[in-house]
C-alpha cells in the first residue's frame, strides 16, 4: 500500500523534454542543410499515390492551373497539387526532383539546362500579355506608344508626359506638363522577364545597359511587389506608368496603351491579339520568345508559359503509371483545357503551337519507350 507513492511523470516534465528534443532536432537539420535537401529528393518516389501529381512554379499561370486542375480532377479523379512559388522555385524543385513538373515563364537558360543533369522538355501551356497601364490626370483616352518611347521612358530619358516624342504620336490627346513616375516589379517575375526581353529586342541601348531577366537593375523608377503592387503605384501616383499582366489590368478596369508592333500597326492588347502573336514559325523545342512578334496583328509584349518535365520519365523509382498520368494531364491541358484560357484572360495556344506541343509530349519516354501512343 505504500508503493502507490510513486507519482506519474508530470505534464511539465514531458513538455520540457519534448521541447528540448525538438529544438535539438531543428538545430541538427539547420546545421546540415545539404542532408535535408538530399532527403527530400526521394519525396516523389516515396509518394506511392500515383493519382496525386505534384507541380510547382510560375505564379502567373496559377489562376489558370487551379481552374484546369479542378476540372481535370472532377473528370478523372487525378489530383494535382500545384504550388505557385515562382518560376525560379519551380525550376529548382524540378532539379531536386521533388515535383513531377515545374512551370516557368521563361525557357531555361543554358546554365540552367546544364545544371538540370537530364533533358528537360518545354511544353507551352498558354500565353499571356503584358500591358502598359498609366494614370495621367485628365486623360481618359487610350494612349499610343511606340517601342522607342517605351524604352526611353524606362531608361529615364523621357521624363515629362508632354514630351514631343509622346505628343507627336498622340495628336488629339491633351497631355499635361507632368513628371512621369515609372513603376516596375520589385519582385523577380516572369512578367518582368517578358517586358525586359521586349525592351532588349527593340532598344540596343537597353540591351547593353540593362539586359533581360526576371529581375534587372532598373535605371529609373519605383518598384512594387506583384501586379497589385505595381498597379497600386500607378493608380496612386499622378503621372504613373507601369507594366502589368493583361488579366490583372482588365479585371481592375485600368487604362492601358496601344503599342506599335514590328509591322507598324498600333495593337490594343487583348486575348485575340496575344494569340495572334503566337502565330509564328515555331522551333521544334518551342523555346521561342514571342516579344516583338512578326505577326502583323500580334501584340508585341507577350510570352508563353511552359510546363517543364524530364524527357526520360523513369527516374527516382517513379512508376510508369505516374508518368502516364502526367503526360495525359499535359495533353489534356493543351487540348480540352485551352477552352478555359479566354475566360481567365490568358491567350490559348495557336494551332501551330499546339502541334509543336503535341510533338514535344510524344517525345517523352519511360525507359526509352514513348509514353503516349
Amino acid at each position: 500500500m505504500i508503493n502507490t507513492i510513486h507519482p506519474k511523470p508530470r505534464l511539465l516534465t514531458i513538455a520540457a523534454i519534448l521541447l528540448s528534443a525538438m529544438s535539438l532536432l531543428t538545430a541538427c537539420n539547420g546545421g546540415s542543410g545539404n542532408n535535408s535537401a538530399k532527403n527530400s529528393d526521394s519525396t516523389t518516389s516515396n509518394n506511392n499515390d500515383d493519382n496525386t501529381l505534384l507541380g510547382a512554379g510560375s505564379t502567373f499561370v496559377y489562376p489558370l492551373f487551379s481552374k484546369l486542375f479542378y476540372v481535370y480532377n472532377q473528370k478523372t479523379g487525378i489530383k494535382i497539387n500545384y504550388q505557385s512559388i515562382g518560376s525560379g522555385g519551380g525550376i529548382l524543385q524540378l532539379k531536386n526532383k521533388t515535383v513531377d513538373f515545374g512551370d516557368s515563364d521563361a525557357p531555361l537558360t543554358d546554365d540552367q539546362t546544364k545544371s538540370m543533369g537530364a533533358d528537360v522538355l518545354h511544353v507551352p501551356m498558354c500565353s499571356g500579355a503584358v500591358v502598359l497601364s498609366y494614370n495621367i490626370p485628365g486623360v481618359t483616352d487610350t494612349l499610343k506608344l511606340t517601342p522607342d518611347v517605351i524604352a526611353s521612358i524606362y531608361l529615364g530619358q523621357i521624363t515629362q508626359w508632354n514630351d514631343p516624342k509622346i505628343t507627336s504620336i498622340n495628336p488629339g490627346v491633351k497631355l499635361p506638363k507632368m513628371q512621369i513616375a515609372v513603376a516596375h516589379r520589385s519582385d523577380g517575375s516572369g512578367t518582368t522577364n517578358i517586358f525586359t526581353d521586349y525592351l532588349s529586342k527593340i532598344s540596343p541601348e537597353w540591351k547593353t545597359k540593362v539586359g533581360k531577366g526576371t529581375a534587372v537593375n532598373w535605371p529609373a523608377g519605383l518598384g512594387g511587389k506583384g501586379n497589385e503592387g505595381v498597379s497600386g503605384l500607378i493608380k496612386q501616383t499622378p503621372g504613373g506608368i507601369g507594366y502589368i499582366e493583361l488579366a490583372y489590368a482588365i479585371q481592375n478596369k485600368m487604362l492601358f496603351a496601344r503599342i506599335q508592333n514590328e509591322s507598324g500597326n498600333y495593337i490594343t492588347p487583348s486575348i485575340a491579339s496575344t494569340s495572334a502573336a503566337g502565330n509564328v514559325q515555331m522551333p521544334a523545342d518551342s523555346k521561342v520568345s514571342l516579344t516583338n512578334t512578326d505577326a502583323a496583328n500580334g501584340y508585341p509584349i507577350s510570352g508563353f508559359t511552359w510546363a517543364l518535365i524530364y524527357k526520360e520519365q523513369s527516374y527516382n523509382g517513379r512508376s510508369q503509371k505516374r508518368a502516364e498520368n502526367l503526360l495525359n494531364l499535359l495533353w489534356w491541358n493543351i487540348h480540352e483545357g485551352q477552352q478555359y484560357c479566354a475566360g481567365l484572360y490568358y491567350a490559348p495556344l495557336s494551332p501551330e503551337a499546339t502541334t509543336v506541343a503535341e510533338n514535344i509530349l510524344r517525345s517523352a519516354t519511360y525507359n526509352g519507350k514513348p509514353i503516349l501512343k
Binding site: T13, A16, S20, T26, G30, G31, D187, G188, L222
Partner: protein, 316 residues
C-alpha cells in the same frame, strides 16, 4: 486511526531503506534530474540553433563570396542580369530607415513610459492605454503596410508636392514613419516597467526636499531608469532593422542609392523578400543569402554595441 499513525511512522523508514539498500532511486528524485537535464538541453539547443543559423548562412553564401569577394559590401550596383551584386545601397537603406525611425519614435516611447510608469500607473485609463500599446505590437506588419499605402503615402505625397520633389509618396521617409509606429511599443513597455520600479523612498525624499514633479522625473526617475529605457530603445532598433513586409510595401524598392529622404530606396530584408522566389542563378541566390548574412551580422553588432553602451551607462 491506527493505520494512519502506522503509515506516518513507517513512511520515513521505508524511504530510508530504499535509499540505503536498493539501487532503485525514487521517481521524485529522478524527475528532478530529468527536469534539470531537459532544461539544460533546451538551453544548449538554442545556442546550437543560433550557431546553425550562422553556419547555414555562411555555407550558402560561399559561392557569392568567391565570385564577388569583399566588393559585395561596398559595391553600388545590384544587377542580377550580369551577376554583379553590391549590397551598399541596401545596407545604407536599412541603416537610414532604422535610425530615422528610432529618432522619430524615441520622444513618443519615452513620454509613454513616463506617463504610464509615473503619472498614471493604475486605473482604467492606464489599462486602456497599456493594452492599446500592446496591441500596436501585436498587429501583423502587413496591415501596417496597407495602412501605410492607403493613408500615409497620400499624406507624404502631399508633403512632397509642397517641397517640389517628385511626388512618389513611397520612399525612405514613409518607411521610417511606418517603422517608428511599429517600434514604439517595445521601448514604451520596457521603459514603463523600469520607471515603475523606481524606489518610492527616493522619490519621496526628493519631494520632501521640495522638488516639483518635473524635477523628480528629471533627477530621480530618469537617472534610475536610464539603462532600462536604453535597453527598450535597443530592442526597438533590432525590430526596425529586420522588419520586412511593411517596409517592402512603402519604401519604393529602388536599387539606386537614395539621394534624399523622399527618394525611394530598399532595405536588405525587403530585397530578400522581393527577389528570393525568382532568383534562378546560383550566384544570384547565394548573393541574396549573403545579404541575409550581412543583415544577421549588422543586427548582432548593433546589439552587442548597444549592450556595452547600456553597461557603461548603468555603472554611473
Amino acid at each position: 486511526m491506527q493505520i494512519s499513525t502506522q503509515k506516518i511512522i513507517q513512511q520515513p523508514e521505508k524511504r530510508y531503506k530504499e535509499k540505503e539498500f536498493s539501487a532503485k532511486i525514487p521517481f521524485t528524485i529522478k524527475r528532478e534530474r530529468y527536469f534539470r537535464k531537459s532544461l539544460v538541453l533546451a538551453a544548449i539547443g538554442v545556442i546550437i540553433l543560433v550557431m546553425a543559423f550562422g553556419c547555414t548562412l555562411v555555407v550558402y553564401s560561399i559561392p557569392s563570396f568567391k565570385a564577388l569577394g569583399i566588393h559585395f559590401l561596398y559595391g553600388k550596383t545590384w544587377d542580377p542580369v550580369n551577376n554583379v551584386f553590391g549590397a551598399y545601397p541596401f545596407l545604407l537603406g536599412t541603416l537610414i530607415t532604422s535610425f530615422l525611425a528610432l529618432i522619430i519614435s524615441i520622444p513618443f516611447s519615452i513620454s509613454i513610459a513616463l506617463f504610464l510608469g509615473e503619472y498614471y500607473p493604475e486605473g482604467w485609463f492606464s489599462n486602456l492605454l497599456k493594452n492599446a500599446i500592446e496591441l500596436i505590437a501585436a498587429i501583423p506588419s502587413v496591415i501596417y503596410g496597407f495602412w501605410g499605402l492607403f493613408v500615409l503615402v497620400p499624406i507624404v505625397r502631399h508633403l512632397e508636392m509642397k517641397f517640389g520633389v517628385l511626388p512618389y509618396g513611397v520612399g525612405i521617409l514613409t518607411a521610417s514613419l511606418i517603422l517608428s509606429v511599429m517600434i514604439i511599443p517595445y521601448a514604451a513597455s520596457m521603459g514603463r516597467e523600469i520607471v515603475k520600479m523606481t524606489p518610492l523612498r527616493l522619490k519621496e525624499a526628493a519631494y520632501s526636499l521640495g522638488s516639483t514633479r518635473y524635477e523628480v522625473i528629471r533627477h530621480v526617475v530618469i537617472p534610475y531608469a536610464k539603462s532600462g529605457l536604453l535597453a527598450g530603445i535597443l530592442l526597438s532598433l533590432g525590430r526596425a532593422l529586420g522588419e520586412t513586409m511593411a517596409v517592402t510595401m512603402v519604401i519604393g524598392n529602388s536599387s539606386l542609392i537614395p539621394k534624399n529622404i523622399f527618394a525611394p530606396g530598399n532595405t536588405m530584408a525587403s530585397v530578400i523578400a522581393n527577389e528570393f522566389t525568382e532568383a534562378a542563378g546560383s550566384v544570384y541566390l547565394s548573393a541574396l543569402i549573403e545579404l541575409g548574412l550581412v543583415l544577421f551580422l549588422v543586427t548582432a553588432i548593433i546589439n552587442i554595441a548597444g549592450k556595452s553602451i547600456i553597461k557603461r551607462f548603468s555603472k554611473i
